[in-house]
């Protein structure tokens, strides 16, 4: 059974229809990527899933339960974490405070410590920067903090919105390696990317979105070969 099932959702921004019936599913243990050009509706899809954007019609099942249009602070308690586009770390909070906010719903201090150690295992740099203000770090470090902060929730499904945005190629590679590793550790991943080739390279399956609709879907390796991808981009 899929961990996440999005059925035919339609989302509007004011009068503008951003999603015109998107259906996506993610199986437990998969890396699934949503690719498409700017403004295609990738971020809106993630926002609709986490509850940041109001969905008009359709259904969203997470672990078999309807979560559509639930308050955001409730959906993320169910085991999904959403790392927003542009990292959105709390710039004047320290790295430690940022991580603690990720574990906001956890009251057990020891559990928080344990999770923090796991995060440091993935991102040793964060341990060195604990008392530094988040906003003073480099883009790559901020991305690591944003992912680390989401891991503090111990999510089953991790949704990443363009983690490679604005980063140097070498850092992008690092981030993708970490995503792969997180997946091997059992975290299901829904990855939104403009960086199509790299995303499809690590993904089990992928969807191509254009103008708020899924135009293509399939295995990662197949999609890479599919010439239509390029068409979708050029369009």
């Amino acid at each position: 059974m899929p961990i996440l099932e999005v059925n035919n959702i339609e989302t509007y921004y004011g009068g503008i229809q951003a999603l015109k019936g998107i259906s996506v599913y993610v199986n437990k243990g998969e890396i699934v990527t949503l690719i498409g050009s700017n403004g295609a509706g990738k971020s809106t899809t993630l926002k609709s899933i986490s509850g940041l954007a109001k969905v008009k019609t359709g259904s969203i099942l997470f672990k078999g339960k309807e979560t559509m249009n639930k308050p955001v602070h409730e959906t993320c308690l169910l085991g999904m974490a959403h790392v927003p586009e542009g990292r959105k770390i709390f710039s004047t909070l320290t790295v430690k405070e940022n991580l603690l906010m990720g574990a906001f719903s956890v009251n057990n201090k020891q559990l928080i410590e344990e999770r923090m150690e796991i995060v440091f295992g993935h991102f040793p740099i964060l341990k060195k920067r604990l008392e530094q203000k988040g906003g003073t770090m480099s883009g790559g470090e901020q991305q690591m903090l944003a992912i680390g902060r989401a891991l503090m929730m111990e999510p089953e499904l991790l949704m990443l919105d363009e983690p490679s945005m604005g980063l140097a190629p070498i850092i992008v590679e690092q981030i993708f390696d970490i995503i792969k590793k997180l997946n091997q550790n059992g975290i299901t991943i829904l990855l939104v990317e403009q960086n199509a080739y790299q995303a499809l390279n690590i993904a089990h399956r992928g969807y191509v979105i254009r103008n708020g609709e899924i135009v293509l879907s399939g295995k990662g390796s197949e999609l890479i070969e599919n010439i239509e991808i390029r068409d979708a981009y050029l369009a």
Binding site: L52, H73, L77, F104
Partner: protein, 328 residues
């Protein structure tokens, strides 16, 4: 001239500190709400005034009970402070829920105008109730902590005059500082305080951390209003007589203190309040002297505001505010 100014300095410092502490605590309410909603809550001065009325009413009620007079006054004060803070805190929370939350996504000017409306409503409701119950909206509370104290600065150096004050000055000062230190601790060291800062920075992302944004905003209003109400009680203790219009000018000054320190910045509000209080008292004591009698003590506000204007010209973000530049 300098000598005369030095002579009065101890008294100016003591009076200024007490007044400044009042400004500072009220300024915290403005700055907290601004920090989290970018809303200038003009009703906050009226919350302060409501606190003064609730506190005075409680004092009168309690003092009317025979047995209370045998309890040390300080315990009565603490009780009144706690009850009033809770009530005004709930009032502030209620105002947010009814008047500001429905306008959360409206253009900024709209909740601002609503806030001004709320402040008129509070003023008139309190005036109505006070007049109905006592026939007069100017209310005088029981006099408390009226013992005179003197600090002999003249024994330190013959330049200074002695400074004298009522015990209530000390009460105001100590309570205000306890409130400020506790708030600073809460904001910087506790989970909900950190959540407040997170919500102030980025509401959407905070909600992704499973932080209940509405609850956080409610807590902010509760704390800000509780502080404002408690300061109202202190004000009533200090000055004895209150009316429904004391909130306007004091609220204005506290707002200016918040801007002076850098609005949205908690420590800035404290610094700004104390600075404004000191400046005002300094002006009130020395203005006649400084201008050779052209401007009297009643121009103290002009002096204080001129300083504010100067600060804003040269450091528009306030003394402790940081210019907003963010890495994208």
């Amino acid at each position: 001239m300098l000598l005369e100014m030095l002579q009065s300095l101890p008294q100016v410092l003591i009076d200024g500190l007490a007044l400044g502490a009042v400004y500072a605590v009220v300024a915290l309410g403005y700055t907290m709400v601004y920090g989290i909603l970018q809303l200038i809550n003009f009703a906050h001065g009226e919350i302060f005034m409501t606190g003064a009325f609730i506190g005075t009413t409680f004092f009168i009620l309690l003092m009317g009970m025979g047995w209370v007079s045998s309890v040390p006054q300080i315990f009565v004060l603490i009780l009144v402070l706690i009850v009033t803070a809770c009530l005004t805190g709930l009032l502030g929370m209620g105002i947010e829920r009814v008047a500001y939350r429905p306008l959360r996504n409206a253009p900024r000017l709209i909740p601002l105008i609503t806030a001004i409306g709320i402040s008129f409503i509070l003023q008139d409701v309190i005036r109505f109730i006070a007049e109905l119950s006592s026939g007069n909206y100017i209310v005088t509370g029981p006099s408390l902590f009226t013992d005179q104290m003197t600090i002999s600065f003249s024994s330190l150096s013959s330049i200074f005059n002695d400074a004298s004050f009522k015990t209530s000055f000390l009460i105001v000062l100590v309570t205000a500082f306890i409130l400020m230190i506790s708030l600073d601790y809460f904001i910087n060291r506790t989970k909900w305080g950190t959540a407040m800062r997170a919500v102030a920075l980025d509401r959407e992302t905070a909600s992704l951390m499973s932080i209940n944004v509405n609850k956080t905003i409610s807590i902010t209003f509760f704390i800000g209003s509780a502080l404002g109400g408690a300061t109202g009680v202190l004000f009533a203790v200090q000055y004895g007589t209150i009316d429904p219009f004391i909130g306007f000018i004091l609220g204005m000054k506290a707002f200016i203190a918040a801007v002076l320190g850098g609005i949205g910045n908690i420590r800035g509000a404290m610094l700004g309040g104390i600075l404004l209080g000191l400046l005002e008292m300094f002006a009130s004591a020395n203005l006649t002297l400084l201008t050779g009698g052209i401007f009297g003590a009643e121009y103290k506000d002009v002096f204080a505001f001129s300083i504010l204007i100067l600060v804003l010209i040269f450091k528009p973000e306030g003394l402790l505010g940081k210019p907003t530049a963010e890495k994208v």
